[in-house]
Symmetry: C2
Amino acid sequence: MNKFIQKFSNAVKNNKSYLCVGLDTDYNLIPFKTQNIYKSVLKFNRNIIDATKDLVCCYKINSAFYEAYGIDGIKALQKTVEIIKDVPVILDAKRSDIGNSAKFYAKFGFEIINADAMTVIPYMGIDTIDVFRNYKEKFVFIVAISSNPGAKDFQEFPSKKNPIYLKIMKKCKSTDKYKNTGYVVGATYPEKIRYLREKGFKETFLIPGIGAQKGDAEKSIKYAFMRKGTGIFNISRSIIYQADKKNYFESVRQKAKQYQMMLSVE
Amino acid sequence: MNKFIQKFSNAVKNNKSYLCVGLDTDYNLIPFKTQNIYKSVLKFNRNIIDATKDLVCCYKINSAFYEAYGIDGIKALQKTVEIIKDVPVILDAKRSDIGNSAKFYAKFGFEIINADAMTVIPYMGIDTIDVFRNYKEKFVFIVAISSNPGAKDFQEFPSKKNPIYLKIMKKCKSTDKYKNTGYVVGATYPEKIRYLREKGFKETFLIPGIGAQKGDAEKSIKYAFMRKGTGIFNISRSIIYQADKKNYFESVRQKAKQYQMMLSVE
């Protein structure tokens, strides 16, 4: 069995949760920091992980937040993945390139960072996606519908009835040799989650947007689990940043607990 | 005037060249290396730069090749950009994300690496692209038509007459507030370069594929410069990797010189 699926299934079973905490740690926004970026980010992440590890089905780490701090950031990213135990890690890197280059991005995510799954942008074609999917033990989430306001600019082209994201998903599904493909579908468009389940996509959806982006949580959860589908709900800012500086990580835990209960789907 | 355009125009004038050398340096493939990845990659790049800097209009550095070697790779990437003088650097990073995350990718490329231009994947929408374009002095190349075999899978959807890449280019053009947008158009599809020039796109095209990928150089060059258009032709593997180990960097220079003459457009 695929290692990501295995770790994920165990975490869901043990923690009764479809909550994914997004470790989108911005050095500028974290409390209790020193001048040492690497140490500050890592310590913050360690505390977040300690406060949430029995409440989540996985962690998602957005590579951008770490790259923006150069060497220190990348070191903190590597070390963060190292200290996460028993729970799978999705590297949200949204990479894409022609085959010869894509293999180096896959190496970065799956070998250097050692993530269990990666997000990939599909625009460049199936051959570019397969480079990532050829890591049979790893999992790949194809960005189908993103959660930003501009998502509709191109993803719904040429029409709502015949959008490119559907073409992409059909093609990715029919070429999913190792059954290690899921899709990113933003919670800011919950009706589309339903639409896709009704279209027969039973795959695992990685669903951002029910936190700071104010997607409709109730609908998204209901639709994601329709027809034996599975949803992984990522929340980052609304969990990892808290106003209560005195009991910061206790607040983080309480907030994560609220989401975990909401996402404790039978 | 945009700093990338300025540096680029100067380099074209001084070096009489539209050749871009791709520093896609793979530690595994380079000669004369030691166990020290950082030093080996940097030394190789320094030699390539010394051998070609008066023959090029810019350098393109594919981030993937450096990320795949972790901290050592990123350090070599930073330092390589630092040692390139008077010639602009395109960081081929093919990044994309929702606004809040994209700004960190822009910071990585434009501030940490200090590139003059970056490549961006458009699928997620104009708001995600604008985060990069808001660096007014920098330049952004939108991946419209890539050079890989699978490019047609989605880029030509829903039809050759009404492809999404055209929709993307039109929308990017009409929102190009700071006139700092160009497009990646693969030389493996030269007729499309002509088609786009005929459609009125006069912007600068970054054109990969006339080297190792065997795109049609003659046609691509002719079409790229049609109707006052400008083409930047990237060649990587066929220049930086040479069989002649004895006079390695002299061979690199000779090969680059051949391409520069081909790309010495009046």
